[in-house]
């Protein structure tokens, strides 16, 4: 069954030749190297190391960053890469999002010249893997109240605290960790092997199984003074990273949705019940046309957002809308595709259930669905409703 990416409005015709070549490169790689192995990776709960190597060889890590060995592609190309990766698996796209937007980006934007030269070229080739430590056991949607803290000890910083739900944590060579220094949130680079630092893997996930998720533990973790990111203070640091990653997710979720749509369409055409293909029944057609409708709207949203990212006319609320909408419809499409597949929909022979379970995480991470609603609510009314005193 050859994959035909749903593109009802021929949106890819808006891409440049270079963006199309990047799309084809990633799509072929996913088809040939990822899809044949994804179920095994999920059942073993691993992110195959050869995927790290290939992503580095293709040169897609940190896609929109320029200089220091980074690809220097457009945000549109970055979106397309995320879409094609997540058509394979959200865990794969998560790996690339974390590496590029959450670990490379803060070093690229807020790091010192030495930090950029030391880390970025090797992160672009996948030789060094990074993770991003913001969430804590008691602070998820509300990272501003984090308790992880750094103390200035004269010739070094001392970190204490714990992060949770950290993608790539255990397999990382470095972590960009957000912690409070004299009450102000700052970014620190912690390297694997630093005294007092450990990153045990979290087990038992039913979602994003081909992605490594970890705790980061800092117990009197001693790091040299030159590991603080000098260029940013406060929540602006982590939030700038999240903006880029969320942008990638708004495209990525469409990849998962397109994969589910494709499978549902093929299945509906071939599955015979009551002597006819189920695709011939109006209720099934209604489901398929609803999927097409939502995917097409999501694609238009993602493309326009990419243009805004490329020409600099975006605001964070634009990204909230696209992340929230596209993950939401992708999850609904996965559920509806599962329904069209009947019992077969729960088997690992089809991609459906895996995408559906993955998208549950995607709905929660990078700002939950509701948090993005609240961001939009504040934008509309001018009143923040995240917090109030009871």
């Amino acid at each position: 069954m050859v994959y035909e990416a749903l593109d009802f409005y021929d949106i890819d015709s808006q891409l440049t030749e270079e963006e199309l070549m990047v799309r084809d490169m990633v799509r072929d790689w996913v088809e040939e190297e990822v899809l044949p192995k994804i179920e095994e990776a999920c059942s073993e709960g691993v992110f195959p190391d050869e995927w790290r190597v290939s992503l580095g060889e293709m040169g897609v890590l940190g896609a929109p960053l320029e200089g220091y060995g980074c690809p220097g592609l457009s945000y549109t190309a970055y979106g397309v890469i995320c879409r094609e990766l997540e058509r394979g698996d959200s865990g794969l796209r998560s790996f690339a999002s974390v590496q590029g937007s959450l670990a490379m980006y803060p070093i690229w934007d807020f790091g010192s010249e030495e930090q950029k030269q030391k880390y970025l070229p090797k992160m672009a080739t996948g030789e060094l893997i990074g993770c991003f430590g913001l969430t804590e056991p008691d602070y998820g949607s509300n990272p501003g109240d984090m308790v992880t803290r750094a103390e200035d000890k004269g010739d070094h910083y001392l970190l204490n605290g714990a992060k949770m739900w950290i993608t790539n944590g255990t397999t990382s060579d470095l972590a960009v960790v957000w912690a409070k220094l004299e009450g102000v949130i700052r970014g620190f680079i912690v390297e694997t092997g630093d005294e007092g630092y450990s990153a045990p893997e979290m087990k038992g996930k039913h979602s994003l199984k081909a992605s490594v998720t970890s705790e980061l533990v800092f117990q009197d973790c001693k790091i040299p003074k030159d590991r603080i990111l000098p260029g940013v203070k406060g929540l602006k640091g982590p939030f700038s990273c999240l903006n880029n990653a969320r942008f990638g997710i708004s495209w990525g979720a469409l990849g998962a949705a397109q994969a589910c749509f494709h499978s549902a369409k093929e299945y509906a055409l071939s599955r015979i019940q009551f002597d006819q293909p189920i695709a011939s029944y109006q209720l099934v057609q209604n489901k398929l046309s609803w999927m097409l409708r939502e995917i097409t709207k999501g694609q238009l949203l993602a493309l326009e957002l990419a243009r805004k990212k490329d020409n600099g006319s975006w605001i964070p609320e634009h990204i909230s809308l696209a992340k929230m909408n596209n993950v939401d419809i992708a999850l609904d499409i996965a559920r509806m595709a599962r329904d069209i597949h009947g019992a077969n929909g729960i088997l690992d022979e089809y991609c459906i259930m895996r995408h559906m379970a993955n998208l549950e995480s995607v709905k929660t991470y990078e700002g939950t669905h509701d948090i993005h609603n609240l961001i939009l609510g504040r934008h509309i009314t001018g009143i923040q409703s995240f917090t109030r005193s009871l």
Binding site: E17, E18, M21, M25, D28, M58, G59, P71, G72, L73
Partner: protein, 247 residues
Amino acid sequence: MVEIAVLLKQVPDTNAKIAVVGGRVDESAVTSWVTSPYDEYALEAALQLVEAGGGSITAITLGPMRADKVLKDAAALGVTKLVRIWNDEWLDLDSNQVQSVLAEAIKESGADLVFCGKQSADRNQGSTGPGVAEILGAACVVEVSDFNAAEQFYLRPAASGSEKVTVNYPAVITFTKTESELRRPNVRGIMMSKKAQINLVSSDAGASQVTFKGHTSPAEKPPGKTFEGSDSVPEVVGLLRDEAKVL
């Protein structure tokens, strides 16, 4: 150091549905064009030869503007010399004409070696490599299925096992499927390909000796047959043996 010309043909995606309209394949209905698969093996072999012993590659295609894509794809893998041969008057070049315009461009490129697929995925004629060799007065080895880039020998299937050959220049080698799939590009290569210049050339194709009379679609496959119950086993076996000829 070797100069290699690789002949790349753009063909409809091998999965594409081909429609015949007015007695001719409707090219406008083809949504996806690709480099002919055997030509990709030829290109990979050329890249490996140049990596092993130095030299350079000229990628040559014959086709309308859309065929630039196969050259750009080659450029993304590091091929810097790109030639497209075309003349808007050309419609149905016969094999001799194709070979003669390709040979012309190959001479121009100064290549010692010519690599191409054993046949194209659309016409399947298998005449281009040998025909070009004839015009160039070059040695010709066809259906190469394996090669050694460092020692420059080639293996081809033979009646019993395989045949190993080396060849003097000038030579034309045609490739069948080898173990070396065409490598994937990377972002750096793709960005370089943006700058790659395609040299558009035209030449005299001479008069055609073959007159194209029309395409027809293959006959529709008869519908499948279903059999139920163990009583039908002898009948099924009979049909498999006598009709399908698979037993």
